[in-house]
Symmetry: C2
Subunit: 255 residues, 2 copies
Amino acid sequence: MNGRSALRLAKLQEALASGGTLHLRDAAEMCDVSEMTIRRDLTTHPSAISLLGGRLVMANYPGVTPIYDLTEQQASHYQAKYRLCQRALAFIEEGDTLFIDCGSTLIPLLSQLSHFRELTVVTYALNVANAVAVLPNVRLVLLGGLFYAASQSFGSDNIAASIERLGINKAMISAAGVDLERGVSCFHFHEVAPKQAAIATAMQRLLVVDASKFGVVRPAYFAALDDFDVVVTDEEGAPQLLTGQGSESPAVTVA
Amino acid sequence: MNGRSALRLAKLQEALASGGTLHLRDAAEMCDVSEMTIRRDLTTHPSAISLLGGRLVMANYPGVTPIYDLTEQQASHYQAKYRLCQRALAFIEEGDTLFIDCGSTLIPLLSQLSHFRELTVVTYALNVANAVAVLPNVRLVLLGGLFYAASQSFGSDNIAASIERLGINKAMISAAGVDLERGVSCFHFHEVAPKQAAIATAMQRLLVVDASKFGVVRPAYFAALDDFDVVVTDEEGAPQLLTGQGSESPAVTVA
DNA sequence: GCGTTGATGTTAAAATTATAACATTTAGTG
DNA sequence: CACTAAATGTTATAATTTTAACATCAACGC
C-alpha cells in the first residue's frame, strides 16, 4: 500500500459519499493521474468503491452491488426469498396499515406493494424505509431513535408507546429462530420492544420465516409461537413441525 | 408503450428492489427475451432502472446515479457545494452532537465526519440518515414520523419535543431563501417545527446556505437572520449583503 | 553516481458493451 | 387469409472498457 494511493482513494470516496457516480476519466483527472492508476488503486487496496462499467460507485450504499450480483445460485436463493414474500403478500389487502419488521426477510415484499392503490407502512428499520420511500402509493411512518447498524434499525425508550398509538392492521414479523417450546427469538435485544408492541397492538399477527429458522433459538426471545395468527413459511413439511406432531394448534395457521 | 414491455420492466424492478445489480445477460434470460429487447424497454419507457456498463441498477436508490454524474460543470457545481461544507466543517469539534437539517446542502459534509473520533448526529431526513448510517464513528439519532417524499424527511406532532429532549451542541440549518428583512425560509411547512426546535435548543446555531439563496423568499418562514450565531456561505460579497450595507450586526458572523 | 525498486504512464490488444440496420415473428384487421 | 404494423431477434459495426506488457520516472540505499 502506498500513501498517495490511499489519499486518492479517500478523495474519491469523499466525492462519492454524497451519492452519484464518477466516471473513471473524471476520477483520474480529479486526482491528476492516469486512469490506469485509479484502476490499480482500486484493485490493490480493497475499498468501499467499486468500478461498474467505467464508473465508480460506492459499493456499500444501499442500492448498489452489496458485493453480490443476482446470478445463478444467488438468483435461486433470491427466488426462495421472493416466493416466501409472495405468500406473505397474499395476506395484504388494499388500505392496510402494515407493521414491517427489520431484517432482510421482508425486503422483497416491499416492491410488491406498488401494486396496491393505497397502503401505510410502519417500520423501525432503515432498509425497509428506503425501499418504501420510493413507492408513491405507500405512506411511510418510520419510528426513529438511536440507530443500530447491526440490524439497520432504530430503538428508543418510547418506541413501544409510539407503535401502540398507531392503528396497525397487520404486523409482519420476522425472526432469527423459531422453536416449538422455546418460542420465537431474534439476535438483538433492542428489537424486542418494537416487535412485542406490534404484536400487542396489531389486529392480525403474521410471522414470516423461512424453514431454516425452525428449531433454532437466538438470544433475544420475544414471543411464543401461538402469539401469532399466521405463520408464513416456505416449506411444505413445516405444518407438522410447527403445530406439534399433528396435534391441533388452532391458534396458528401455517401458510 | 407495450403491455409486455411494461411487465418485463416491472419484473426486473422487483428483482432489483431489494438491492444489488443485474447483468443485462441475466435480465434477458430472466425475461426470456434478447438483451436487445431489454435495452429497448429501458430506452423506450423511462423507468427507475438504469443501465450502467451492462448492468441494471435501481436509479432512484440513494447511492446510484441520482440522474446526475459528477462530470464537468456538475463537478464544479459539486466543488462549490463541497467548499461550502468545508467551511461548515471548520465549526465542528470532536464529540459534538450535531443537528443536521434536511435538503441536499449538507450532504457533502457528512462523509467528512468520518475524520472525527466520535460524534452524534441528530436528523429528521432520510438522505442524511443514509449517509450517516455508514459511518461507524458517528452515532445516529433519526427523528421519525410520517415521511414527506418532497423533502426526504419525516414529520410528527411531537418532533419538536423530541429535539428539545436532546442535548444538541450545534445546529446546522439549511434554507431555501434568506432575506435581510423577510428572514429565513424554506419550501415545506413540515420542516418549520424541527428547524425551530433545533434553533431553540442548540448551543450554537449555524445557517449553511450558498449565495444563490440570498434575497429569496420561500413560502415557509422559520427564523430571523439574527436567530443564528453564524452564517456559513460561499461568497465573499455576502457579508455586506447579510449584515446590512456595512452596518454592524454583531449577532451574525459570516464565514 | 549507480543500480534497484516501486509507482506511474503509455500503448496495443482483447473483451465487452452500445448502436444501427435489417430480418423475422407476432398480433391484429378487414 | 393476406396485409399491416408493432415487437422482437439477429447480425455487423462502432465505441468503450478491461487487461497485459513494456517504458519511464522518482526515491533510496550503497
